[in-house]
Symmetry: C2
Subunit: 340 residues, 2 copies
């Protein structure tokens, strides 16, 4: 059907091994033979079979990327950036969408990436068992989310600092009743919601504000969850005058809930999010910006570096990317206290 390396070899009057060396830029081939082979290969439309090549060489030139949900902006953006880096380096990307628990479980028990990839980038937080499974692959590993874990290169952000800047901003505006919409019901072993919560509590304590557990609600990291959570917060006896949402998507859900309750933002309630979603600007959301695409690209680069230096041991590296508070239109000082 399609041309093989032997067809090229025959047409060029050389051996298959010479063709292989020539096309991959190895030494030991004279310039004229190399050129000749290049010409012949081009006119035969020859491409080396990856299956055969990886069977023989042991390298697949393929990276496995694990994603909880490709459709979500954050993951899509990270994936996008990572893919660019990988493909520029000649690597292909095998995508695994591990949304549901069953699919996820199946993936980690069968481990279909075994013998298929040279490295794995995980955009989801593997629990201990899962990360052991990944380590058993014997390839470099990286992740862009969650805390550090042995064997993984992780690039992330300073969740504490981000949260602090957001909540402190609300405090500085004069708010005293500050709610939080968190993503606690996400996967276990995910340190992000916990760190952000701790930072939130610390800032409140620092400001001498007593913590009211009724002012925390779970938003599940989705728009709908954020809406539900905000609705809950509005139902408490003394509702918050400001809300810190642990993600922009939840913040947007909160905005929707507020609009449905005919409350004005920021006059009645201030809202601050986290991520700087591409549409945060559209809705004027004040938020903590993190370099999402950069994290994907950086993780990809670190992985490639490990592939280039096969000697070095997996360095459990940790990279922190900068965050910054972006002020827009959803935060303002609280209204002067009315008669209730």
């Amino acid at each position: 059907m399609t041309a093989s390396i032997n067809d090229v070899a025959r047409a060029a009057g050389v051996s298959a091994s010479t063709v292989s060396r020539a096309l991959r830029g190895r030494t030991g081939v004279s310039d004229e033979v190399r050129d000749k082979i290049a010409v012949v290969a081009a006119q035969l439309g020859y491409t080396a079979s990856r299956s055969a090549a990886s069977l023989a060489s042991g390298r697949t030139f393929t990276i496995g990327v694990l994603v909880p949900y490709v459709g979500r902006w954050f993951f899509g953006t990270v994936l996008d950036a990572a893919e660019r880096v990988f493909s520029a380096a000649g690597y292909d990307v095998l995508l695994y969408n591990l949304g549901s628990p069953e699919i996820r479980k199946r993936f980690f028990t069968r481990l279909p990436v075994r013998k298929r990839v040279d490295a794995v980038l995980s955009l989801l937080i593997p629990d201990d068992e899962e990360s052991a499974a990944l380590r058993s692959l014997g390839v470099p590993l990286a992740t862009t989310v969650g805390g550090t874990r042995p064997g993984f290169t992780v690039v992330g952000i300073d969740d504490r600092a981000g949260t602090e800047s957001a909540v402190r901003h609300l405090v500085n505006l004069g708010h005293r009743r500050i709610g939080m919409i968190s993503g606690a019901s996400g996967p276990l072993h995910w340190t992000t919601p916990i760190e952000r919560r701790n930072a939130y509590l610390d800032v409140l304590a620092d400001a001498g504000i007593e913590h009211d557990p009724a002012l925390e609600a779970d938003g599940d990291y989705t728009v709908e969850g954020g809406e539900r959570a905000m609705t809950e917060l509005l139902a408490v006896s003394r509702p918050p005058t400001a809300v810190y949402a642990q993600s922009d998507e939840m913040a947007m859900g909160a905005l929707r809930a507020l609009r449905r309750h005919r409350l004005r933002v920021p006059e009645d309630v201030s809202v601050v999010g986290f991520d700087d979603h591409e549409l945060a600007d559209v809705v004027g959301l004040t938020t903590v910006a993190q370099p999402v695409a950069d994290q994907g690209a950086e993780a990809a680069r670190l992985l490639l570096r490990q592939l280039d230096e096969p000697g070095a041991e997996p360095p459990t590296e940790q990279v922190q990317m900068p965050i910054r508070l972006v002020l827009r239109e959803t935060t303002a000082p609280p209204r002067p206290r009315g008669p209730q």
Copy 2:
């Protein structure tokens, strides 16, 4: 390093061919031997090498998916749904992010998917040359965007009907100056913007409204482009009282532009979008909903069906998914004409 089929064969006291047949559920293996092999394979942690398997069988159990920009909601959502279908059927997904023209060109000249995939799902519109290149792969092809083309199964929507329902809605509300923000500067050979434009013109003509070329602006399918386009439309001598944006992202850009100009939606200007973006609901955008995820899933299913029936020729099939107008809060009758 990791167990091979021969290790399993030896440990189970059978030949490698029997292991192969047993593990893949082929006939010609007694139940007891099959069980024995399953046990041994499990405790050895054996997974067949895909490289070796596809080299020997000619099948890769891999689907190539071509995407212009994974980070964009539409494509991320289609990809997400398609991947679920593929992986449920035992296929892996190779992702190619073909954002920039150079990358795209490189892809189609080198065609790295050759001998690597059993089928290709393209979320971008190949021009004639590109689609010829894809056909040369000799595998089933499908796309979820753009018009029909030989050799491709395409699942899409009725762009005409969608646009008509949107523009007619504005007409019915009483609008006479109806602008359009289009995505014309996208890739050539893309029929979508053209069809939508034609439908827009037809509805206007039907309603006896004269078409004003100054009321059309290019929004490049992005939020920023939509904002620019809306700004242009506001600058014409008699600005529109309503705008039809060919995508929700451009519509959101338009909303931002309107807010910056201190114009109220829908009181001063009505806006209707297209797609039903996940956040359209958050901003209350009236829009034409299309089943984005369903399109990805359906395209994937059709591809798999072709893989199961190798006999049938590529059927240049065309599937139309339903659309519907979703009324929210960005459309209303025009203001009664003031003295200006």
